[in-house]
């Protein structure tokens, strides 16, 4: 069995989650799923902060995570409000529909 978990393994795991989220943002058309993918990316960043916090024995990382969680909550609240507004005008939640400026 592996006795130790190297820090770079944890960080790489974070990066993997981050890019899975990013790929989701790129290929999904449902705006709700896009928002969820953004949450995934935020979580990956959070875990990176905590990992460094642990590694460097410094609590600034955990502080940042606290604030990021707050901002994420605010962001998803506003984002979902926008989704509702969008649904009301466009009758749909596809990002393809958001092209009013183009026409």
């Amino acid at each position: 069995m592996i006795q130790q978990v190297e820090p770079w393994v944890v960080l790489s795991f974070c990066a993997a989650i981050f890019f899975i989220g990013f790929a989701g943002v790129l290929i999904r058309r449902n705006i709700l799923v896009v928002l969820m993918c953004i949450e995934l990316m935020l979580n990956a960043v959070n875990l990176t902060f905590v990992t460094f916090s642990k590694e460097l024995q410094h609590l600034g990382g955990q502080m940042s995570v606290l604030f990021i969680i707050t901002v994420a909550a605010a962001e998803s609240a506003v984002g979902l409000a926008l989704v509702i507004a969008m649904f009301r005008t466009l009758r749909g939640v596809d990002t393809d529909q958001i092209r009013l400026l183009r026409e």
Binding site: F22, V25, L26, I27, R28, R29, T95, D96, I98, R99, L101, R102
Partner: protein, 665 residues
């Protein structure tokens, strides 16, 4: 207190202007008398006159050396090495000008109430007139050249507005434009001169300039300033005077300016604005006296203009045109005086000329008003009986301009002629030019007077009536008078005429030779003229006699000649060539048209077609086409899909990270 002088007309302008702009100009409000607006405007300028008188008395109470009042309103602009205050300065020179401007201005305002009583937009007229007075008073009160220039431009603007006052007539509108454009040429010289003064002396304030030059009563060049610089400054400023005061070669606008209402001609184009050039030269006399070359040029231009304009005036048939050329000629006199160093005499002539020329113009206006807009003296005659007051006052003005003692014109003109002969800058040639002009002046003014007032009427009843109705003028002011419809003007017009006639009669006594109050008064600003030894004192009396005799000769000739119109007609046919040249004003307008206007027009046309359209337009348009094309091309990548944008973002990140990892290593 000084600021009150220009402030009153400004307030009058604002009241009348806003009244006109917001009430009278509104549709459906065309009918309006000149009474209320005229009264407001007159009160405004009368206020300035009263303040001017009070300040004059205050100055008189001071010892001669300290007769200067100053008022700084606010700092106008300040930057490194340059500070300009909105400041007024009242000294013995400017107080004379404020008195003349506001005094004659008041009379002309009163006169205008009668003259403009049938006009459609008196509010506008009086607003312009007040604005003019404001600018003119600022011009004479300004403590520095920029303030003077502000007034200088202001009077130019008002002149333009008032010449083209009846703008629906294209000829009158273009006369306004001509005045404006010709004045621009002069103002260009003025500005250059001002810049040059600043570079040479580092200041634009009159007092500072004077203290830089005059030391202990003697003008001397300050260190580091060459005579040529001073000459250049004086000549450039004189170019400005040529434009504003209608001297050769920029005089052409003044005769055309007669398109404006007659009170305007009297106020702006005879009494005040056109003399601002003389005011400036007199104000900067210490500067001019440093440069003999500039003085000679001023004297020569003045003398030639005086003579030249007088020759034209002899043949003109329009009553106002004759007076206009006479004004040009008299302005030439004033510059002749300045050019020979007799600044006091020049200023003296400004004052007397303001009196009698305003009188003559207003008299002419009264004639035109009475004749229902007839301006051709060939169609007048015998008005003595029909318009007795106008006749009597006009006669006084006529005698004054002819130089018959003891009328005001005699003293000032004689002073100029004597100094043109005796001063160190003068010469027999200049004197001869002036004396010849004096004879011609007497001749053409007598011709005008005779043709207008004496002899038999040369107009028919029907003509007068028809004309009157044709202009929509005089419908209701026949007063049941003489059947001809020719009538004396109302008191609002004849009253000012009488006051001015009185002034023309006695105005000269302020400058009696050898006991001149004026010379004494102006001594702090203009150093008293030193008697020069090279001419015998008795010569003065001889010359005086000669000029009076010359004037009498001119009058006599004209009366004899124009008693019967056959005689001048014979002369005209005998010397048809000369007559045609004079009648067509030496073809100067045509010359300017050929040599300046048309080449510039052709050049502009060429530039427009070959450079503007062919080159500039093409460049500008190709910029437009380029951005249109690039926009069309680039817009295809704007798909509107957010994910596509995110993908591009990702590509950017990959490239940046790749550079950070591999590029920097």
């Amino acid at each position: 207190m000084i600021a009150l002088i220009p402030l009153f007309p400004l307030i009058g302008f604002l009241i009348n202007g806003s009244w006109y702009a917001f009430v009278q100009a509104a549709p459906g409000r065309r009918k309006a008398g000149s009474g209320i607006t005229g009264a407001i405007a007159t009160m405004a300028i009368l206020g300035s006159f009263v303040v001017s008188c009070l300040l004059f008395l205050q100055l008189q109470g001071l010892p001669p050396e300290s007769r200067v009042l100053e008022q700084t309103l606010f700092p106008w602009m300040t930057f490194a090495g340059f500070k300009l205050d909105m400041a007024f300065r009242l000294d013995s020179l400017s107080t004379l000008f404020t008195l003349v401007v506001s005094g004659v201005g008041t009379l002309i305002h009163i006169y205008s109430i009668g003259y403009m009583s049938h006009d459609a937009t008196p509010g506008k007229f009086f607003a312009y007139l007040n604005l003019f007075c404001f600018a003119m008073l600022m011009l004479v009160l300004g403590a520095s050249l920029p303030i003077l220039f502000l007034g200088w431009e202001g009077v130019g603007l008002c002149s333009y507005l008032l010449i083209g006052y009846w703008y629906s007539d294209p000829e009158k509108a273009s006369a306004g434009k001509k005045a404006f454009v010709v004045n621009r040429v002069g103002d260009f010289g003025f500005l250059l001169g001002m810049f040059l003064i600043f570079t040479a002396f580092g200041t634009l304030d009159f007092e500072a300039l004077r203290s830089a030059i005059v030391h202990g009563g003697h003008a001397a060049l300050p260190e580091g300033v060459a005579v040529t610089t001073v000459t250049a400054i004086c000549l450039l400023l004189f170019v400005g005077c040529m434009g504003k005061s209608a001297q050769i070669p920029l005089y052409v606008w003044l005769p055309d300016a007669m398109a404006g209402p007659t009170p305007v001609s009297a106020l702006i184009h005879a009494a005040t604005m056109v003399t601002s050039g003389i005011y400036m030269v007199a104000r900067l006399n210490f500067l001019y006296s440093l440069s003999p070359t500039a003085m000679a040029v001023v004297a020569a231009v003045g003398g030639v203009t005086a003579f030249f304009a007088a020759t034209i005036a002899i043949t003109q048939k329009d009553i106002k045109k004759v007076l206009a050329y006479s004004t040009v000629s008299q302005l030439g006199y004033m510059f002749l005086a300045c050019g020979v160093g007799a600044f006091t005499a020049g200023v003296f002539h400004v004052i007397t000329h303001a009196f009698f020329k305003a009188l003559l113009f207003l008299g002419a206006g009264s004639v035109i008003h009475g004749m229902h807009e007839e301006q051709d003296i060939m169609k007048m005659g015998g008005l003595r009986a029909k318009m007795p007051v106008t006749f009597a006052t006009f006669a006084l003005g006529w005698l004054a301009i002819c130089g018959i003692p003891p009328f005001s014109g005699f003293f000032s003109k004689d002073e100029i002629l004597w100094l043109a002969f005796s001063s160190e800058h003068g010469s027999v040639l200049l004197w001869g030019l002036g004396a010849l002009t004096a004879v011609m002046t007497a001749f053409y003014m007598t011709r005008l007077f005779t043709l207008t007032f004496l002899g038999k009427p040369r107009f028919s009843e029907a003509h007068g009536e028809k004309h009157g109705h044709g202009h929509g003028h005089g419908d209701d002011h026949s007063h049941g008078h003489a059947p001809a419809g020719v009538h004396e003007s109302p008191f609002s017009m004849t009253g000012p005429l009488q006051v001015l006639a009185l002034l023309s009669l006695i105005g000269g006594f302020m400058g009696i030779p050898h006991m001149s109050w004026l010379e004494h008064w102006l001594a702090p600003v203009i150093p008293a003229h030193q008697a020069t030894g090279h001419v015998a004192a008795e010569m003065e009396w001889v010359l005086m006699g000669v000029s009076v005799a010359g004037a009498a000769l001119g009058i006599f000739l004209a009366i004899r000649l124009y008693a019967d119109l056959e005689l001048p007609r014979q002369f005209a046919t005998k010397w048809a060539g000369l007559y045609r040249v004079l009648f067509n004003k030496w073809y100067v307008d045509e010359l300017y048209e050929r040599t300046l206007v048309r080449p510039i027009h052709a050049l502009s046309q060429g530039l427009w077609k070959n450079f503007d359209v062919a080159v500039i337009d093409r460049i500008v348009l190709s910029f437009g086409r380029a951005s249109q094309w690039s926009g069309q091309t680039v817009r295809t990548i704007q798909t509107g899909s957010i994910q596509f944008y995110a993908l591009v973002l990702l590509i950017g990140i990959v490239l940046s990270v790749g550079y950070l990892i591999y590029g920097l290593a």
